[in-house]
Symmetry: C2
Subunit: 415 residues, 2 copies
């Protein structure tokens, strides 16, 4: 690929040629980062070319992606998710201009579809016909869905505590699901052994450097949807660290290619019940420490983040802000997004917005700032927490007098 | 509006001027149908103009819609949902060419968003600031979401048996939810009384002629996504009847304007536990009879369909086919869609596909036919039925030997 220079280790800095099945650094085991030739990209693409393009998916940004093409297999339409200016919500939060990038509107309803779509293309390049991962969350469902469309077999290892609904989704996509009677570590270990034994393509953000390249497309889209006028801040929830690192990479790509003329500051939002990346970033150290996983936002409950280094570097480089929010603040952000923007987010999807609210309250952000809040997953993925956040409806027999009483008690004033 | 001629009663045929808050026929109570001036539309729009248009939502088809504009309020991005050629699934079913229109990829995850987006625009035209309906299903959640984005108040009446998850989704969007301790008829009656008393805008497919105009945009998109080369058939699940009637209207619009050169035959698919429209259509009569509501596909479990006449006429006009499918056939279609196309459908969303399978088996469709299957709602809306359809995963302790045994028992052969 003429646009890709090499893969560089994020730990030891050694560089290697990037292959479709490149995994971790052969020297030190660190996660690799794909490096691009921006002069080449600039010679091939201008932002005006881009705006004229018909492709309405993440593959619109081919020049910025580490692929030769997108292969011959059918695929789901991932990306180009909605981007809204949220005036009422912005005013409520005290933000100058607020935008929402709703990545819950994706084929399997989360941002992870971007990584899995990339994994499917790289698996085809690598000549594999089977893809595996261990996860119970959005990574697994997005792999199962994107692989099913493309005709790949999948083997997905889940700990036996995984909720039945999530397992059902995987099974519906035809994944071979192995429910492991043990901890997540046991599950991961068995999956690694099986991947090694049968040579399956590995869709694991702790190993595979291409997943982040898929995730960064959300940032490429944000730039274009902002008409290449970057906001002051971009807020996003952080779990493993791969997504925020990908987002930062996307902005840096667009900046390096001259498509945007400044970079945003990242607002890294974690749950106050699990914030190992923010703890390290706030102390300006790469030396992060594992934490317990105490939050309802399951998609970012990652006590031992595999991409912590990349994430902390991204926050540092962007002169970013770290904010930790409680479960109650997350539930409140779910309500705010639903009521004032019509966006139904899963808890981790609303966490970025919760962080903006808190950062404003703490005076960490100037009041006239422009901010993008990335919603990473759809509320339909976690209806139980929506029930927690929602409150109780009016409940009455079918009598107009009782309705009038109920409205009065609720403070609903009607003529 | 220069493109709209009038509103014609589907029962008595009388015509009226169409106003934003036009409801049923003042003469006989029949549901009205908006009529267009296709010569005017043709003079304003060609298919080549359309293909060049940047708007990527249902509002791309303004010339075919009964609106002056889309108002000043913010709105969700509804429509332009994915359209896939499903080669593997087509082969499995024995179809010549199979396409899937995945309308589960919409802001609140169903085709109903198209109707609610239209209701929001018409409510603004009518100068209303509150919209109401009685429903527990996709109509309610789409109204709540689209109205929240646009800053309308909503009052949504649900029977007390409505599942907590669905009520929670409405509450998250800030709807005033009134849970009525009584039957659906009690609920409907109280809502009608309240709508009448407070003059709210009425989002009810039994009353409001504009909802079908929103729904028809799915057909306009299908035409364009087929590059204006119409398939032999279009299959869709049928409940109240408004959606299939809207789909047919959309195809007729495109045909009348010369954008397509033939019309498809409709495949009207209902559940064998509730098929009042298909029963009448198969007997070539408009005199439909109420039925019990015995199916897992709750979104089409409509024993007393309010738009039966429009639907039966659409099936007749298209020289359509009626097929009724069992709950088991619906669950099987959910698995087929998930495994072979990566599309996760709610039961009613997979019903069209179940109907195609059955129609082929019954010899009702020629084997080389081209067919579009419309998926009307996302599987995440109904995870309990996905669990029913999914089957059980492999469950083992974290031991490679046990994994090998389990694969052998399941008939999974690996090198």
């Amino acid at each position: 690929m003429k646009n890709v220079i090499d893969a560089r280790c994020t730990l030891c800095g050694h560089t290697f040629e990037a292959h479709p099945d490149t995994t971790v650094c052969p020297d030190c085991g660190g996660i690799l980062d794909i490096e691009y030739d921006y002069d080449y990209i600039k010679s091939k693409l201008t932002k005006y070319d881009l705006m004229d393009r018909n492709e309405r998916s993440m593959w619109r940004y081919m020049e910025f992606l580490p692929v030769e093409g997108i292969g011959k297999r059918p695929r789901l339409r991932v990306g180009m998710s909605p981007f809204y200016e949220a005036e009422r919500l912005g005013k409520l939060l005290g933000v100058g201009t607020l935008y929402i990038k709703d990545d819950g509107i994706n084929p399997t309803a989360s941002l992870k579809d971007r990584a899995s779509a990339m994994a499917v293309v790289k698996a085809e390049e690598a000549g594999k016909d089977t893809i595996a991962c261990s996860s119970t969350g959005n990574a697994a469902s997005s792999l199962a869905g994107n692989a099913a469309a493309a005709g790949f077999s999948t083997y997905i290892f889940v700990p036996s505590r995984a909720p039945k609904g999530k397992v059902a989704q995987l099974m519906m996509f035809g994944a071979n699901v192995i429910s492991v009677q043990g901890s997540y570590e046991d599950t991961f270990r068995l999956s690694a052994e099986a991947i090694d034994r049968w040579g399956w393509y590995n869709r694991n953000a702790a190993i595979n450097p291409y997943l982040m390249e898929g995730k960064k497309t959300v940032a490429l889209e944000i730039c274009e949807q902002l008409n290449f006028k970057m906001t002051d801040y971009v807020a996003i929830s952080v779990g493993d660290g791969c997504t925020i690192a990908g987002v930062w990479k996307g902005f840096k790509d667009m900046y390096a290619a001259g498509f945007i003329d400044r970079l945003p500051r990242l607002i890294s939002v974690q749950a106050s019940g699990c914030y190992p990346i923010n703890a390290a970033a706030a102390a300006h150290t790469l030396d992060w420490k594992p934490q317990e996983e105490n939050t309802i936002a399951d998609s970012i409950a990652v006590g031992v983040p595999r991409n912590a280094i990349k994430a902390i570097k991204a926050i540092e480089e962007s002169n970013g802000i770290t904010v930790n929010v409680s479960d109650d603040e997350i539930l409140e952000a779910m309500r705010l997004l639903g009521r004032n923007a019509g966006v139904f987010a899963e808890p981790a999807g609303a966490t970025g917005t919760a962080g903006i609210k808190k950062a404003i309250e703490l005076g960490l952000i100037e009041k006239d700032a422009s901010i993008v809040s990335v919603v990473t997953g759809n509320g339909l993925k976690d209806v139980n927490n929506a029930i927690k956040a929602a409150g109780e409806p009016i409940s009455i027999p079918a009598e107009m007098d009782l309705l009038l009483d109920a409205f009065e008690k609720k403070g609903i004033k009607l003529p």
